[in-house]
Symmetry: C2
Subunit: 360 residues, 2 copies
């Protein structure tokens, strides 16, 4: 994997990330394809304008449980299983296992958990996570880390950092798929000193990129912004910086200005299905009665098929009728917004016209 | 509306049906778009190859209740509300009101029923049905008829015929949308004598087409086949013949050979969502364990995106994960099969190579 910063504006960077399945232009947003599909969309739609997604994310936890690794292996990996020939990033499975709560037991070696599907008992360790990601054959694998909640005690955060460091070494020692990059993950919550301490441990390791885990996990948003503003640009300049699981359009603008290159979040896709649409005029709640007779588009500035062809009233009707087409069109729209947002940020960085976002 | 038979093979006909929104090549299958959407698909997909649907069906009952006529009217009709500029046929709402069972009270003037959505009380008469269809602005409206179940007593069937005849006159007297055609409906169950008697009443009326209602409503399939074989070709030659709510691929082959031109059925779309796929090798149940590791397509002869790009194992995975994409791909596949079937029948009629289907 090769990463080149092609333009910079303040701390914000425009880059090119070359992977085994093609080049990713950064800053980039990665649509989340949890169980082998970005919910509601075909791979054809994801690759075509206006989405033109450069990379999508797959969830190790979900794919390991269902369909199971033997099925993915029979297809020669996740790309062929889902029919997507562009880059894929896989998470380590850790975050989702930890969020199972009482179904999970963690120790210094790894995590034992019960499947949310059938209650069966499973074990995930750094080695096992890397082995699964090797089978999935993602372009970018993530190190297996421990992510404490946003309201965790400092002692808990420090213990998670120590485990994450020990596990990072084990992940780097594990076999990986041909051409597969591996990113390390920093923990430390919203405490910049802890983040710096963890960077001293993870930064020198031969990871292909560095991710910021442990943000947007329940801490106050201003705390995240302060930490990002102070710290994101201190991450190694020669490697991509990935803010995991974040966030709102404002979060992304702010983090890009702070020096972050990569993002993923279920927000555009999940909120779409729940009736919340992102527009150039702000958020729109499709169930609202005022849209009942509205023959105008969701967003007149949006190039997606939904906005080009359909009215707010039609979308609202489909939403209340629980029609599949609602989820399709809403997901297409929200991802068009998110991918348009990062493309616009990149254009401005390259043109040198990126304004610093207002402080909150 | 203009209908031209361009080729004939036995009783089977290939025709051109010119409507206000374009030409329909018959025999044709009409995908069912109950609530303003063919479930799971965009209008763009419906119009593009391999589907290239020439006409879709909208359900008066559903659209009247939700979104409501004021919403459709604000958009200038159903075409613009759903973004579909090809022909639309609307049913009268009667069949679906009758299938509400205990929520329905029928008399000689019309039907009183309660909404399945909110229990509110409504009244449908021939005039009201035509008024609703006028607002929807379909290219083809259907007369308001009474359709008895397939196991109804002869006296019930005869009473339904009498009501249908009286209501047919009232439908023809009602205002209609500009350029809107109206089809009459024959009842009479599987009894060919009753069908002929009803044709004597409905046939002379100035309807633009004649539909066969009251088939595939619980009667034995061989009884339907016998009636179609004996009777379908006796319908007026100069007008399209529409077999309502039918059916399986075999039903369609048989009915085309008997002289029917138009079909609609929820089978390809509903069965798709329930896991049953139509293929050139017969039916395929996607949940079956034998497909778990199958890297082959649903149907190697199918040109749809699902078969070109995805494996049975992937579809099966999406099915069990209850992913929206499963319903999309399965619906696209099944409709590709149905629309390919009628295109193939038409090609054979034109080429003079249509074999009579085997008798069952």
């Amino acid at each position: 994997m090769k990463f080149t910063v092609v333009a910079q504006s303040g701390h914000a960077r425009a880059g090119l990330l070359e992977t085994a399945h093609g080049v990713i232009e950064t800053p980039i947003f990665m649509p989340v394809g949890t169980a082998g599909t970005v919910k509601g969309l075909t791979v054809g739609e994801l690759a075509a304008p206006p989405l033109d997604a450069h990379v999508i994310l797959g969830n190790t936890y979900h794919l390991y449980l269902r369909p199971g690794l033997d099925v993915v292996r029979a297809h020669g990996g996740l790309h062929r299983f889902i029919g997507w020939d562009r880059p894929i990033l896989t998470d380590s499975g850790g975050f989702q296992v930890f969020s199972l709560g009482e179904l999970t037991q963690i120790d210094d070696d790894g995590v034992t958990f019960r499947s949310h599907i059938d209650g069966s008992l499973h074990r995930l360790t750094p080695e096992r996570s890397m082995e699964i990601q090797e089978t999935l054959g993602s372009d970018i694998a993530m190190a297996f880390d421990q992510c404490p909640p946003g309201d965790a005690e400092p002692a808990t955060v420090r213990r998670a950092m120590d485990r994450t460091t020990a596990w990072a070494r084990r992940c780097l020692d594990a076999p990986r798929a041909r051409g597969q990059a591996v990113f390390g993950i920093l923990q430390g919550g919203a405490d910049v000193d802890l983040r710096r301490r963890h960077l001293d441990e993870i930064g020198p390791m031969p990871f292909d990129g560095i991710a910021l885990g442990g943000f947007s996990v329940g801490e106050p948003i201003p705390a995240m912004y302060r930490a990002l503003d102070a710290f994101a640009h201190e991450l190694p300049e020669d490697r991509p910086r990935y803010l995991m699981g974040v966030g709102t359009p404002d979060d992304i603008r702010r983090a890009v200005a702070a020096g972050v290159d990569m993002f993923d979040c279920v927000m555009p896709t999940r909120n779409a299905r729940n009736g919340q649409l992102f527009t150039s005029q702000g958020k729109l709640v499709i169930s609202h009665a005022k849209h009942r007779m509205d023959t105008g588009p969701i967003d007149p500035e949006c190039p997606c098929e939904c906005c080009q062809l359909h009215s707010r009233a039609y979308l609202r009707h489909l939403f209340f009728a629980r029609e599949i087409l609602y989820s399709r069109l809403a997901t297409l729209h929200n991802l068009t917004y998110y991918l348009g947002l990062v493309r616009d940020l990149r254009r401005k960085i390259v043109a040198g016209t990126l304004d610093a976002p207002s402080t909150r």
